[in-house]
Amino acid sequence: MSSVHLIPRVIERDIKILFSDTFLIGIMFANFCIDLFVTAATFGNLIGSSYFLRIAPGSNLITAMVAAFQSGRDIWREKYIKDLASYLLTLPIPRKVFALSRITGGVARSVIATFPGTLVISYLYGILFSPRLVEAFVIVAVFSLGIVGLSIAVSAFASTIEVFATVRSAIQLYLSFLSTIFYDVSLFPVIVQPIVQTNPMTWAMQAFRALQSQGSTLYPISVLVGPSLAFALLGAVCYLWYTRL
């Protein structure tokens, strides 16, 4: 069996892990609903109705971020709690292919976990029954690619779950509050603006907003690909480093 044929097996395993607890997927959707229909709706009332639509995709991308970090957490648990790392290394698949498959599996899990959320946002943006729906899923997938890479990199170095959770929180704070989810980049102090402009969340939000305004998503997605690929590569390198034992 060639190693390429083994990639779907690894991805399938990761997806099965996600579905081993369907309750978790339900809870992630509940999180999304609270973010969108409680927090975003209230800020919409406080600021203006267009603001609700402006920040709505943020709820879905935050869910994608949580789902992507769940992949890293599972890898951490395999290493420290379940002691599965040695067994996984005995599988007849080259390590580089294995690492890339785990990242792809993480992206697939994230897209699945945010599937209902992406449909809700697409409905709000009036693209639910349009071919542009595919673009919405592409945005979520490209964004998730980077976050899965980051979460795997963190899982490789975090020796305790507290360290993992702390780094995860710090990354989530950076992605949520130092991006354009809630406010325009021009509102930030000049010194912080480069941080906001290089934030993958900023470009994922821009891409979603382009869907709403019937504009082209090509530019924001092509910018988003840069950090996402870089983070995915970092995740792969860290995973390979950690499997070196």
Binding site: D21, L24, A41, I47, T160, A165, T166, F177, Y183, L187
Partner: protein, 267 residues
């Protein structure tokens, strides 16, 4: 996280130890546990600072329909942090059960009742110790200087912490899967904070949230704390709600925990 131990007392000395002393001994252990894990303190402090000085500062410039949103949010963010930190005791208890440390704790010469009350008290006190610096930042920023108001506000926060600790213990001893427990607790934390008046006023919530928010314990604490700090009046309804919340969840948490400790049998 739960690697700490408490000094074992000879059972012959137990009769000499008062109930309150044993409760305090258990509480002291939980307080020490939190401060031995600085990661949690670092991450929650960072979250508070970014939420207050980045999010609240920038968003208050956009909120034109509610003047004074920043001071409103600042007090509410402290209330949210108290709730958030109080939930951590659940993680500790869950982890102790998973790692087998609970079995060791049960061998200690401490009656079950003191053990449980001590855990809840420890969870609440450490949440307060942790939140006081943040409360001080907000008090300085907003010029809250009346000592009576400050004491009343701290009492509100403590009652919230005590009740949330009970809620967290209830969840910790009811959910079996580790992954599921993490997400349930995170969802519960999100729900009680977001569907409350801690971070935004009731008048601006969608009707379906506004119908539920007045019954959230975080709403009781947020409204009562704001009333105390503004020196307007004593929020009797908020205080009564908080006391009821503490009584219900402390009782529920103790019952569930007790049942778990005794293998499903009430002693």
């Amino acid at each position: 996280m739960s690697s700490s131990t408490i000094q074992v007392t000879d059972s012959s000395d137990l009769s000499g130890q008062s109930t309150s002393r044993l409760v305090l001994q258990m509480a002291r252990r939980d307080i020490a546990t939190l401060f031995r894990t600085p990661w949690i303190i670092i991450s929650r402090s960072l979250a508070f600072i970014i939420q207050l000085f980045v999010f609240a500062y920038l968003i208050s410039g956009l909120v034109v329909k509610f003047p004074g949103f920043f001071p409103y949010y600042a007090v509410g963010s402290v209330v949210s942090v108290v709730a958030s930190i109080s939930f951590i005791i659940g993680y500790d208890i869950f982890e102790e059960a998973e790692e087998g440390l609970l079995d060791y704790l049960l061998t200690l010469p401490i009656p079950r009742r003191e053990f449980i009350i001590g855990r809840a008290l420890g969870g609440a006190v450490r949440a307060m110790i942790y939140t006081i610096p943040m409360f001080a930042i907000v008090a300085v920023l907003e010029n809250f200087s009346n000592p009576l108001s400050l004491i009343a506000a701290i009492l509100d926060l403590f009652l919230l912490a005590f009740g949330v600790t009970g809620l967290s213990i209830t969840v910790a001893v009811s959910v079996r899967s580790a992954n599921r427990f993490d997400v349930v607790l995170a969802l519960l934390e999100l729900a009680v904070s977001r569907a409350s008046t801690a971070l935004y006023p009731l008048a601006f919530m969608p009707s379906y949230v506004a119908a539920l928010a007045p019954f959230s314990p975080v709403t009781f604490a947020a409204d009562s704390t704001r009333a105390a700090l503004s020196g307007s009046s004593l929020d009797i309804l908020g205080l009564a709600g908080l006391l009821a919340f503490v009584a219900i969840f402390l009782g529920l948490g103790a019952t569930f925990y007790f049942r778990r400790l005794e293998g499903g049998v009430y002693a």
